[in-house]
């Protein structure tokens, strides 16, 4: 009797097991409908596995069977509710196939019937990522209030995410504008908004908590960008307002009643101002330094009457020279991309660290591009002076903030292409000809569940060379203590 039971169980298990593996699948001449869309993307070796789900409108996907073949024939296989790859084996496969292509064969059991889709490639880039991971702010894309939010870091080699600072620690503060110096978090800055406001400047792990709002400036220091020397950090100071669209597909507008650009000298605890960056008639905004530190890029727009003329808020991309020894600015502002002539507006200039390009976002007006469906990624080639929309990565929804990897071969940017409201992170690489690869959504362990259920937006992403080591206990104490260092204005 016992033998009979064991035999029956074995038969059942065998049949069950057989049912979970493709058996004479029907071959269809179509690419698999997968989420995220990883078909023909280019990824760096060593990145977290590109797990995905098969999504079908034709029935319930009961099982997914995926085989990944490397150029040398090494195979990786997974079978489950969704394609979930072993991290170590995935790393091995991608490391061994640098500069080559992986071929994925996907079978899906839909309503009890196995279907085999056409194979698709995933390209492994020759360019290393050379970054530990990403930093980003995660927050619900709200309007005037927010619940849990924080600045987080994500190991790009796996799926681990760590909070750098969260508002659960400190009585619901808002944290924003975090930036490291050329992806190196030894120089790190972020802003604390609200009751315990501050600007935190960390150099080699030593944190300085500056007064959030400077009386001379009349505002707080936001949108930071480090000088490559690590001595200076550029900010803008903005009198920001919001307007809520009553109707249509637009939700809100952000406009500044005034804004200026300034540079903070971390050694002297001084703010460097210049009349060319602090004009009354113009709003200077979103600064960034060139990789050699000799130029300060910024955007500028003729001040308008808001909210009445918010559609006339159009920014050009300009630059001014900067001498790091004296801390002085040049006497001339150059317009290096005239967006106004195109009846457009430029924002978030980010020079590549190799000095070849400037990445920016272009939209119809304004600078808070994430709320502009039409906003796109553009690139300016500094050797030719030509700018072009990066059509190979843009979408019909907002494609907004971005940053380069340290080697200027990879780029991370925010996009609302999934649904038009929630921003997610996409990575892409640039080749020697200045063309970008098809972007891929930041991998997650169970991406369909994660992205479909997540009610958060990812914003202001940046690469980070190392894990950010912020002593959160000291940070909490510092935030709550309200002890702030005032900043002098030179």
């Amino acid at each position: 009797m016992t033998k009979y039971k064991i035999f029956s169980i074995l038969i059942i298990l065998t049949l069950w097991g057989c049912g979970n593996k493709p058996h004479n699948p029907e071959k269809v001449n179509a690419l698999p409908p997968i989420f995220p869309d990883y078909v023909d993307v280019t990824i760096p070796a060593g990145i977290a596995p590109l797990n995905f789900a098969v999504v079908s409108d034709n029935g319930e996907v009961e099982r997914v069977d995926v085989t990944v073949k490397g150029a040398d024939g090494y195979k990786l296989h997974t079978n489950g509710k969704y394609a979930k790859f072993d991290i170590d084996k995935w790393h091995k496969l991608t490391e061994e196939n640098k500069g080559k292509t992986l071929t994925l064969t996907v079978c899906a059991k839909i309503d009890g019937k196995w279907i085999q889709y056409g194979d698709f490639p995933i390209n492994i880039s020759n360019y290393p990522l050379d970054q530990w991971g990403l930093t980003y702010r995660r927050i619900a894309p709200g309007y005037e209030v927010y619940s849990k939010m924080g600045i987080y870091q994500r190991d790009l080699g796996n799926f681990e995410e760590f909070p750098i600072i969260e508002n659960t620690m400190t009585d619901g503060q808002c944290y924003n504008c975090h930036t490291s110096n050329r992806t190196n978090p030894k120089d790190f800055v972020f802003h604390v908004r609200g009751e315990h406001g501050a600007t935190m400047v960390s150099k080699d792990g030593n944190c300085t908590w500056l007064k959030a709002s400077n009386d001379t400036l009349g505002g707080s220091m936001v949108y930071p960008y480090w000088h490559p020397s690590g001595r200076y950090c550029a900010f803008s100071t903005n009198q920001t307002r919001q307007g809520f669209h009553i109707s249509g597909q637009k939700r809100l507008e952000v406009f500044d009643m005034s804004s200026d650009v300034l540079v903070y000298d971390t050694e002297k605890n001084e703010i460097l101002l210049d009349s060319l960056l602090n004009t009354n008639a113009w709003s200077e905004n979103t600064p960034s330094f060139s990789p050699d530190g000799k130029w300060l890029y910024f955007t500028t727009c003729l001040q308008q009457e808001y909210p009445l003329h918010h559609k006339d808020e159009k920014y050009n991309l300009c630059r001014i020279s900067f001498d790091e020894t004296s801390g002085r600015f040049g006497s001339q502002v150059d317009t290096i991309f005239n967006a106004v002539a195109m009846d457009k507006s430029v924002t978030w200039p980010r020079p590549s660290y190799d000095g070849k390009y400037i990445l920016f976002t272009l939209s119809d007006y304004g600078y808070f591009s994430i709320w502009h469906k039409e906003s796109d990624q553009w690139i300016l080639d500094l050797t030719t002076g030509e700018a072009r929309p990066i059509e190979e990565i843009n979408s019909s929804e907002a494609d907004s903030f971005h940053n380069w990897s340290d080697n200027s071969r990879w780029m991370v940017f925010t996009s609302r292409r999934q649904d038009g409201l929630y921003s997610h992170l996409y990575l892409t690489s640039i080749n020697d000809n200045g063309r970008f690869s098809k972007p891929f959504l930041l991998p997650q362990l169970n991406p369909e569940q994660y992205y479909r259920q997540s009610l958060y937006s990812f914003n202001t992403p940046d690469f980070t060379k190392f894990k950010v080591e912020l002593n959160s206990r000291e940070a909490i104490d510092a935030v709550m203590s309200d002890e702030r260092i005032p900043v002098k204005v030179k």
Binding site: A140, V145, G243, I246, S247, G248, D419, Q453, S472, I476
Partner: protein, 595 residues
């Protein structure tokens, strides 16, 4: 059956039925409020996320139960069951002590205290579940019989660690109560410092994102972080120290029995009803009626007692508007400026609820969405809301943002009470003709604001005018709101100007009573009689307005005389406002939220 045995059966039954009936019949609005501040999902990630923090199992179980608050009858029953469990387990823990058996009714004190504490709408059921789990552990700790101090301490520490993880810091009550029942006072002295060290270690190693104080007071016993009402300390103290009665050596059981019965009776009959604050109960009641779209019940409630706060007033005005009576009957109630129609921004999770409903029904879908979104974001313990998420999905369907709607609908499909709606709503996605044909969504889509403009509360009457007159002038609710806002704001010139321009279908309707009163009022500013007034005013309105004018002239400082001359009229509101300004602000102040 002896008297003391009867107590052991009857007491829990009385507690259960008493609490069930009280919660169901007397305060269903509190249950609905709790339900709308969370969204329980049947998903693996929801479960793992919940149980990955101290007290997470209690949170998970409580949120499972709170979803049934959607139907207050069931929700009240389950809550009563949980609270009764804690009484039963307490009683079982005393089973070996004769005197404790006689004092069995005292085991109901903690559940009854909690029932009274539910008058604070931010005290979460998680604490009640944690109470039940703690009393279960206390009972289990009494099973082994006599233990040495060392064995007792080890047992208590082990139990504390497990209980702390599943129920949170109320686990300390288990340590104290179990040590008392084992008559091992030294174990308390050993275990409490060890428990503190354990909690600190858990905090420092795993949960740096929370302040230590929250780890010690509970992450989810109270909706507002960093606040811990004293009643929760009291209940923890009662659970901890109630076992002291087992130490009583005296034998006057009958006296003790009567005393314990009396104590419980006092709690049940006096303490609990008195703990519930009427103004707050009324606000929550209005909110629940608006949520259930019981418009006639709202009006009936207001007729019994005039609303005295803006929140309730907005609910009454919305009900009057939806039933087509706003411009006929609104001044029968205490009006209070335009804010009594649509509130300004208040960054908490309650005061804008009715405003969000009004914005939605008016057809200001974008603003309804953003207001609802922020309402959800302002839930202080970072939970989501089934009610609000459903409304957000509705807004997105109306606006044609189907992908965002699909996201919310996909989440709601994992719930119990919103799944049915989500399945039906799914058929509308990417299907414009189905949405257009929908009796509610189609109409709201047709009512949408046509021009590109920013929302500005100070210009609300202009927005309402454009909303009412746009799209062929079919938005009668907006038309009523426009008239009401003009009257409340004193902008009679605009109101009369628009009436003069014969706006669409509204000009073919009889002029509403209150608008007639406003016109009559406006006319009397510059005319001695009603002769020549260019609108068909009723004789009654003319007489009342004239009587009011006379009453004001004769009795300048006697509002009672004005009231007598023209009760429930716009004229009376206008005169009162001119003399005394607006009525007071809402009496209930909610906790500020993340701003």
């Amino acid at each position: 059956m002896t008297r003391k045995n009867i107590f052991q059966y009857i007491c829990p039954l009385l507690t259960f039925f008493g609490i069930w009936m009280f919660l169901w019949l007397m305060c269903p609005q509190y249950l609905l409020y709790h339900e709308q501040n969370q969204l329980f999902l049947f998903s693996g990630s929801y479960f793992t996320d919940s149980i990955s923090v101290p007290g997470g199992m209690a949170d998970y179980l409580s949120e499972f139960i709170v979803q049934f608050y959607y139907v207050p009858l069931y929700g009240a029953m389950l809550t009563a069951f949980v609270l009764t469990l804690s009484q039963v387990f307490s009683g079982l823990a005393f089973r070996r002590c004769d005197i404790a058996k006689t004092a069995f009714p005292l085991s109901a004190i903690a559940p009854l205290l909690y029932t009274g504490a539910m008058s604070d709408e931010n005290i979460l059921l998680s604490f009640a579940v944690a109470m039940a789990l703690t009393t279960l552990f206390i009972y289990l700790a009494t099973l082994p019989g006599n233990l040495s101090t060392l064995t007792c301490s080890i047992t208590l520490i082990t139990g504390f660690v497990i209980l702390y993880w599943i129920a949170g810091p109320i686990a300390i009550a288990f340590v104290i109560a179990a040590a008392i029942l084992h008559r091992r006072p030294k174990a308390v002295a050993i275990c409490i410092p060890v428990a503190f060290i354990i909690v600190s270690a858990i905090h420092y190693t795993l949960f740096e994102q929370y302040p230590l104080s929250r780890m010690l007071k509970g992450l989810n016993y109270y909706r507002v972080p960093e606040i811990y009402p004293s009643i929760l300390f009291v209940i923890t103290g009662v659970i901890s120290l109630l076992p002291l009665i087992s130490l009583v050596k005296a034998r006057p059981h009958r006296l003790l029995a009567y005393a314990s019965e009396a104590t419980v009776a006092i709690f049940a009959v006096i303490y609990i009803p008195l703990s519930f604050d009427k103004p707050k109960s009324d606000i929550l009641a209005y909110d629940s009626l608006v949520r259930q779209q019981r418009w006639h019940d709202i009006i009936e409630k207001a007729q019994k007692e005039n609303p005295t706060d803006l929140f309730s007033l907005q609910a009454v005005n919305l009900a009057l508007g939806i039933t087509g009576q706003l411009t006929e009957a609104m001044f029968r109630y205490n009006q209070n400026g335009v804010e009594g129609l649509i509130g300004k921004d208040r960054l908490d999770n309650t005061t804008q609820l009715v405003t969000a409903e009004a914005l939605y029904h008016l057809g200001l879908t974008n603003i309804a969405f953003s207001t609802t979104f922020d309402l959800q974001e302002s839930i202080m313990n970072d939970r989501k809301s089934g009610r609000l998420m459903k409304r957000m999905a509705e807004c997105m369907i109306i606006n044609g943002n189907y992908k965002v709607a699909a996201k919310y609908i996909g989440i709601l499909r994992n719930s119990l009470f919103y799944a049915g709606w989500a399945r039906r709503a799914e058929t509308l996605l990417e299907n414009d003709s189905a949405v257009n044909a929908h009796p509610v969504y189609g109409q709201l889509r047709r009512n949408a604001f046509c021009k590109e403009a920013f929302y500005d509360h100070t210009q609300i009457h202009k927005i309402l005018a454009m909303l009412a007159l746009g799209n062929g002038g079919n938005n009668y609710l907006a038309w009523q709101y426009f008239c009401a806002a003009s009257m409340l704001g004193g902008d009679l010139a605009t109101l009369i100007g628009i009436y003069n321009s014969s706006p669409g279908q509204y000009s073919k309707m009889p002029i509403p009573r209150h608008v007639q009163e406003a016109i009559a009022m406006y006319w009397t500013f510059s005319h001695p009689t009603f002769e020549g007034v260019p609108f068909p005013l009723s004789q009654d309105v003319k007489q009342q307005t004239a009587a009011l004018a006379q009453a004001v002239m004769k009795n300048k400082n006697n509002p009672a005389a004005w009231q007598k001359a023209a009760p429930g009229t716009y004229g009376l509101y206008f005169i009162n406002k001119s003399y005394y300004g607006n009525q007071p602000e809402p009496s209930i102040k909610y906790q500020p939220t993340h701003e």
